[in-house]
């Protein structure tokens, strides 16, 4: 189709010139006109080319601007957070109106206190005067508790599925199963939130007992999140396993190895960098996930390593505060950005690590 159109464009052009030549013999004047036309045409083509190049460059710059925007917003609002004077609660003090020197002091939140403090109680208006505490550790442990459960589930299931697909499944089975698993990755997270809260949670309570497990728990959120990120582990690991050359497998089979031995002693070690990388990227995804933890993990900061308890994750805190229509420029408004900055830094670090692992330790076969 496209080729025909191009020849169509060229043909009338030559015909036009032929026709003109027949109609009136070429004078020196019209020859100059032709040259002028050609020069004008070339110039237009050149201008067009330059203009297009600049438009495309500008479009490419938008992605850079997005990153600059994210970093600028998070950092500037976080600076606002660390400059605000708040009534910082003294450890163990009774909750009373803030009286400097008695139960708390008006002071700025230190960066170190923020990163290492184990009490996150950003009491908002009208309770703010009772004293606030901004130690982010409970939110971080909450996030990683859920992500750890998800990591265990997705590593176990994802690796198993990847080995099955690349080493055991015949091609026709593989072609059916892979798209089904990828449907899991396409389901919106809010649907998983509904599923974790209203289906998996009650089922777990039925199995473990109501007295051990509440409505919200890191376990139910983590299990569902593990299912959600499983296709990511499967796809990336399977890609790594499939690129292990056939000759390595054949050599092992020739020595009498079983499929299991080929998989665990030849293929998995050879594809290890890809597998580790897929796992890190999947856990990073779990850390940044919002709706499952918001709906199913709980809404109260809780410093614990017990997955049966309810915890609040960093993302869940951000959404929780953002929903409260917080006034612009108050400490409440700033907290979500400082937590967001921490979240951004953690996921960026994990994504970079995931990419680095695969580049640094990749086995290259001839």
């Amino acid at each position: 189709m496209a080729t025909e159109q191009r020849t169509m464009v060229i043909r009338p052009d030559t015909e036009g010139i032929e026709a003109r030549r027949d109609a009136a013999p070429r004078t020196s004047y019209s020859l100059r006109k032709d040259e002028r036309d050609l020069a004008r045409h070339r110039k237009r083509r050149h201008i067009e080319q330059v203009a297009v190049l600049w438009i495309l460059r500008a479009a490419a710059m938008i992605s850079i601007l997005t990153t600059i925007g994210i970093v600028a917003v998070l950092v500037s609002q976080s600076i606002g957070f660390f400059q605000e004077e708040v009534c910082v609660l003294n450890e163990g003090a009774p909750i009373k109106p803030c009286e400097p020197g008695v139960n708390g002091e008006m002071s700025r939140v230190g960066v170190f206190d923020f990163l290492t403090g184990t009490n996150w109680s950003p009491l908002f208006k009208p309770y703010r005067d009772l004293g606030q505490s901004f130690g982010v550790v409970p939110l971080v442990t909450g996030t990683f508790l859920v992500a750890a459960v998800a990591g265990v589930v997705s590593l176990g299931l994802g690796m198993g599925a990847a080995i099955f697909l690349s080493e055991y499944a015949p091609e026709n089975v593989r072609r059916i199963i892979k798209p089904i698993l990828e449907v899991l990755a396409g389901i919106p997270t809010v649907v998983y939130g509904y599923f974790a809260l209203l289906a998996v949670g009650p089922a777990l309570r039925f199995l473990i007992g109501d007295e051990h497990l509440g409505t919200f728990s890191a376990l139910s959120a983590g299990l569902v999140m593990g299912i959600m990120i499983m296709p990511m582990v499967t796809t990336l690991s399977e890609d790594a396993m499939i690129s292990v050359p056939r000759s390595l497998r054949d050599a092992a089979y020739a020595l009498g190895a079983t499929r299991f031995e080929v998989a665990t002693k030849v293929v998995v070690p050879a594809a290890l960098s890809g597998i580790v990388s897929s796992f890190i990227l999947a856990v990073s995804r779990a850390v940044g996930e919002t709706m499952i933890v918001y709906l199913a993990a709980g809404g109260r900061p809780n410093l614990t390593l017990n997955p049966l308890e309810a915890v609040q994750a960093m993302t869940a805190f951000i959404v929780n505060v953002a929903l409260g229509d917080t006034p612009h420029g108050e400490i409440e408004y700033y907290t979500i950005f400082v937590v967001g900055l921490l979240l951004f830094a953690i996921t960026l670090l994990m994504n970079t690590l995931g990419r680095w692992v695969v580049q640094r330790f990749r086995q290259v076969y001839e």
Binding site: A2, L56, T66, F195, L198, E261, G288, T290, L295
Partner: protein, 293 residues
């Protein structure tokens, strides 16, 4: 003789272990598929009897029986169309620049690395960006459709760029060489040869990116916040809600009936996603048949 029997036992054990693990590996696939089946069953069973014409044509209500999804459906269509209008030109242009024009230098590699990093930024962080830049700075505190669409546009931009790049890369270089040999400029090659060839693939990538945008909840939640809307937005500056937000609102309610209408809304959301994915697959399949010659 003893050696022989020992090696027989060992061999039997190894074969047994092989079969056990074959079962376990298949088991992990089966768990994934079964959970998917459980999820879908749960949604369908919960929504039976609630998904009707009244549900599609009513606004939200405090009484689950009267509630409907007209406002969120309208909001979802608004947001998707606005997002697509803003994302597609910029995303495709970026991909064309990186694949066809950019010199292989440090800046180009930086842009490329930056795009893959943006694809890994948690979606809620885009919500914070939208809240600070679009809502507070650009629109003076107004939580409008446009602010939501701009935020989603930045969120799905990396997906559109990466999909378009793959589509452009799949165009054989012999096509380009042929056009260059006829004296075409770089832009003419792109405009008349490369883009027409890559359009079906780019289209299917765009549709998949938009289906991701439809399901995104966290950034819209931060930018728009939960609102009770009983009208169909008529301009990009109106406040809005989308299907996922309505689902969050209903899932958070303690009464059982809200759980049923949440499931009904989830069915609508899943049907929309399924339609878009089917469309993308159809376009891609048609394209693959064409590219064979």
């Amino acid at each position: 003789m003893a050696l022989q029997s020992q090696s027989n036992t060992r061999r039997a054990y190894r074969l047994f272990r092989d079969n056990v693990f074959a079962g376990m590996f298949f088991g992990s696939v089966a768990v994934g598929i079964l959970v998917l089946a459980w999820l879908l069953t749960e949604v369908i069973v919960d929504s039976v009897g609630w998904l009707d014409w009244q549900f599609l044509t009513s606004y939200s209500s405090r009484h689950p029986v009267d509630a409907g999804v007209l406002a969120p459906i309208a909001g979802t269509f608004w947001v998707i169309i606005l997002t697509a209008v803003m994302t597609v030109p910029v995303g495709v242009a970026t991909a064309v620049y990186l694949e066809e024009f950019a010199p292989d230098n440090r800046l180009t590699r930086l842009i490329q690395l930056n795009i893959s990093n943006l694809a890994g930024v948690p979606s809620v962080v885009y919500g914070l960006l939208g809240l600070a830049i679009f809502v507070q700075y650009l629109f003076d505190g107004q939580r409008s459709l446009l602010a939501g669409a701009l935020t989603l546009s930045l969120l799905v931009m990396p997906i559109v760029i990466i999909a378009s790049q793959e589509a452009l890369r799949a165009v054989p270089s012999s096509y380009r060489d042929a056009a260059y040999a006829m004296g075409a400029t770089r832009w003419q090659v792109v405009k008349m040869v490369v883009l027409p060839q890559a359009v079906p693939s780019i289209m299917s990538g765009i549709i998949l990116a938009m289906s991701r945008a439809i399901g995104e909840t966290a950034p819209i939640l931060v930018v728009s916040s939960l609102v009770f809307i009983t009208y169909v937005p008529t301009s990009p500056t109106d406040r809005f809600t989308v299907l996922p937000l309505q689902i969050v609102t209903w899932v958070s309610q303690p009464q059982d009936d809200f759980r049923n209408i949440a499931a009904a809304a989830i069915i609508i959301l899943l049907v929309m996603l399924l339609t878009m994915n089917a469309l993308a697959i159809y376009i891609r399949a048609k394209f693959q048949r064409r590219a064979e010659y």
